[in-house]
């Protein structure tokens, strides 16, 4: 009778009860819920659904905000010929993989640390979570100053230690990784919190049983924490991967896709086309981005959740 099985039993029995309850009382209950749905539905429809559907139409037009000419697939053809697109696509994938990978590893490690019995645990938890609460643009501007190769604090400190720091954001081979590093710094707090929740919900009985059997800390981590924190891993991977694929604000604030086009991601390519006034073309780019995110995220979500059920 572990808590896990009780939980399963209780949800198993709760479901039919809820269904019965709903069908019986529907006519009375409906008067509030249905009207309350209307206003959010209108807001959601006007500001989200309608623009989304309309954007699929504008993706096939040459649109200058005044008139739209139907051009068929020309926008998509131009978009795929975009010189910075291939690099943008690879950069997007690299960025998403690096940020979500590091967030999983660091988040897990920090969560293990912060659930163990250490001094000032509560304080450390809030310090770690703090960057998540700060505006991304603010963080971007701050780090742009810190990472300035000549005047920035980071390279100043490195030079005191006798190390010549890289040019961070203005070196073509470093720019993308520098931004990814800041993204991880900002996002690891959230990943840690999700992991802490996952680790705390693992019943103590497992640890006790393992210790009785003489398992080492590594074995406990490998065979108890890691598999039982799987739902947390799935959440962190999905959230940070989708976030990484759609990433824009941090990259735009810190490098603007530069130097040149070396740290462009799909979202910044699309934004630049919008800035240039190629509205139809940038709408087509957004449709492509939507499809790419869906192609990666939907199967991944299905895969991770399927494993979760088996475990």
């Amino acid at each position: 009778m572990t808590p896990v099985t009780t939980l399963q039993q209780s949800t198993g029995t709760a479901r039919p009860v809820a269904r019965r309850h709903r069908t019986r009382t529907a006519p009375v209950d409906a008067r509030y819920p249905y009207w309350f749905y209307l206003l959010p539905a209108v807001v959601y429809g006007v500001f989200f659904l309608v623009p989304t559907v309309v954007s699929f139409y504008y993706a096939f037009t040459r649109w200058d905000l005044f008139t739209a000419h139907w051009v068929g697939l020309e926008n998509f053809r131009t978009f795929f010929q975009e010189q910075s697109l291939v690099r943008g696509l690879t950069n997007t994938l690299i960025y998403a993989a690096i940020t979500s990978g590091l967030k999983v590893v660091l988040g897990m490690a920090l969560a293990v640390l912060l659930t163990s019995k250490i001094i000032a645990r509560g304080y450390l938890r809030s310090v770690l979570f703090f960057p998540t609460l700060v505006s991304t643009i603010g963080i971007g501007i701050t780090f742009t100053v810190l990472m300035n190769p000549e005047k920035g604090l980071i390279n100043n400190m490195l030079s005191h230690a006798g190390v010549t720091g890289p040019a961070w954001l203005v070196d073509p081979s470093w720019a993308l990784y520098s931004v990814a590093f800041v993204d991880v710094w900002k996002g690891v707090g959230l990943a840690t919190v999700i992991y802490i929740a996952g680790l705390v919900s693992i019943p103590q009985e497992y640890y006790e049983a393992a210790r009785v059997d003489g398992a080492s800390s590594w074995t406990v981590f490998r065979h108890i924490m890691l598999p039982l924190a799987r739902p947390a891993t799935a959440t962190v991977v999905l959230l940070s991967l989708i976030g990484g694929l759609r990433s824009f604000d941090l990259i735009w604030t810190m490098t603007g896709g530069g130097p040149g086009f070396t740290s462009d991601v799909i979202a910044s390519v699309v934004y630049k086309q919008y800035q240039a006034g190629f509205y139809g073309l940038s709408t087509a780019g957004n449709v492509v981005l939507f499809v790419v995110v869906a192609i990666i995220a939907v199967p991944l979500s299905w895969f991770l959740n399927r494993k979760e059920v088996q475990a």
């Binding site: 005044f66 130097p259 040149g260 919008y274």
Partner: protein, 452 residues
């Protein structure tokens, strides 16, 4: 049961009311305001009250100071009109705001905006009120009129002075090393070698502000046009390209030359415009390919050094045809949504910009960077060295307007491409090819025939 139905009905009404307010909020601002203000305008003006018009400018420090000075002067001359200055961001974001506000009918009564290649995307024929054959138009500079005319109709009056795009240089450094103003690229490179030997950065680049990378190419256009007089027309028609025309490709190669020779300031990848101005004015850098309009910033960066900085055109292949590429003043436009009394007031305000009173007020707002675009205006005697140099080339007739005022096609990614060339990420040849591709997109958007 009765209570229940009443509740339900009240809920429905509340929801409908909420939807109603939402929709009214969306639609009312554009349609409502213009019609309402027109009617109040008519009644108020006939009884001798003031007409209020709004005036939208970009939020640059200099621009805001000029706008304030010129509206003050206008109020003094026209006590029955009040001009309310509003600001918007500059750059690409500003372009989008102007286009969006025009297309939704929500534009200010008068606004300041670029002419040349940026005017065409506003669809002036649909959105702007053309200038009727007014007396003041005959006083305007031909370059300005050409770049503000679309399909034979003039749409604006001039906002401030013209300025050049070329090389700002540090006069004390030139004197100390005994250098001459270069007229050919070879002389320029020879000067730069001597400057480098003296331990000074020969050429300043500031890729922290990406737009600043373009001047070495854009400022070279006078030299390009000297080789083929109707270059711009051929370019618009897609008959001539940067990558295949030797003179145009040379503009890209200049930048590659400078990178290969290691002539840039050490922090060129991260420095911003103000850093560049500081280096130039203090003499740690000697030459800065830039717009002449930025000199006002020197006074803020390094007070007292503004006249240590002079200006010469981007040197080309031939000393005989070397000259300055200039940017005529921006325009002052009236959108078609301005009607009735407001339109009359707006037209007065637009015409005011061509008068001497307006130019003098603008001068008070910010020191002029070149000649004004109306014959009625004169420059004060105490202009900066850069303004004197700019004016000299224009009065000698050794100047032509930049390509973006002669052709509607300018690729949006030029600044990034030039940063790639200037940082050695790609070659000049590859950069020019990339730019031709970039321009092709712009031509497609404008519906121009552009062979690929």
């Amino acid at each position: 049961m009765k209570i229940q139905t009443r509740l339900r009905r009240r809920g429905a009404i509340a929801a409908l009311a909420a939807v109603g307010t939402l929709l009214a909020g969306c639609g009312g601002s554009s349609g409502g305001s213009s019609s309402a203000s027109t009617t109040t305008g008519t009644t108020s003006n006939s009884s001798g009250k003031t007409t209020k018009i709004s005036f939208l400018v970009d939020n640059g420090d200099g621009t805001v100071a000029m706008a304030k000075a010129v509206t003050d002067a206008f109020h003094a001359a026209h006590p029955n009109i009040t001009v309310d200055v509003q600001t918007r961001p500059g750059g690409g974001d500003g372009d989008n705001i102007v286009k969006t506000r025009l297309s939704t009918g929500d534009m200010a009564d008068v606004f300041q905006y670029n002419n040349g290649s940026l005017l065409q995307p506003l669809k002036p024929a649909q959105t702007l009120v053309p200038v009727d054959a007014a007396s003041w138009t005959s006083d305007l500079d031909k370059n300005f009129v050409d770049s503000t005319t679309v399909d034979g109709k003039l749409y604006g009056s001039p906002w401030g002075p013209a300025f050049g795009g070329g090389i700002l240089y540090n006069i004390p450094v030139y004197k100390k090393l005994g250098l001459q103003i270069p007229q050919t690229w070879a002389q320029f490179m020879a000067n730069s070698a001597k400057i480098k030997a003296a331990g000074i950065a020969p050429v300043i680049q500031t890729y922290g502000d990406t737009w600043t990378s373009q001047l070495i190419v854009l400022g070279d256009y006078h030299n390009v046009e000297a080789t083929t007089p109707d270059w711009a027309t051929k370019y618009s028609n897609g008959q001539i390209k940067y990558a295949t025309d030797p003179a145009a490709l040379r503009s890209f190669q200049h930048l590659e030359d400078l990178h290969k020779a290691g002539y840039f300031n050490k922090d060129y990848r991260s420095a911003k415009l103000n850093d560049g101005l500081k280096e130039l004015a203090t003499g740690t850098g000697a030459q800065y390919p830039m717009l002449g309009s930025v000199v006002a910033g020197i006074e803020q960066q390094v007070p007292g050094k503004i006249n240590d900085v002079g200006f010469f055109p981007v040197p080309g292949d031939s000393a005989a045809t070397n000259g300055l590429t200039i940017w005529p003043a921006n325009g002052i436009y009236i959108p078609k949504t301005t009607k009735g009394d407001k339109l009359a007031a707006a037209k007065e305000f637009q015409a005011f910009f061509a008068t001497k009173a307006a130019c003098d007020a603008l001068t008070k707002g910010q020191a002029p960077t070149g000649p004004y675009m109306s014959k009625q205006c004169t420059l004060p005697a105490d202009v900066t060295q850069v303004t004197k140099d700019t004016t000299k080339y224009i009065t000698e007739g050794k100047a032509s307007t930049a390509l973006e005022f002669k052709s509607p096609v300018k690729g949006p990614n030029l600044e990034k491409i030039l940063i790639q060339v200037g940082s050695g990420i790609e070659s000049a040849q590859k950069g020019a090819q990339d730019y031709d591709q970039d321009v092709r997109k712009q031509a497609q958007q404008l519906g121009l025939s552009w062979a690929s």
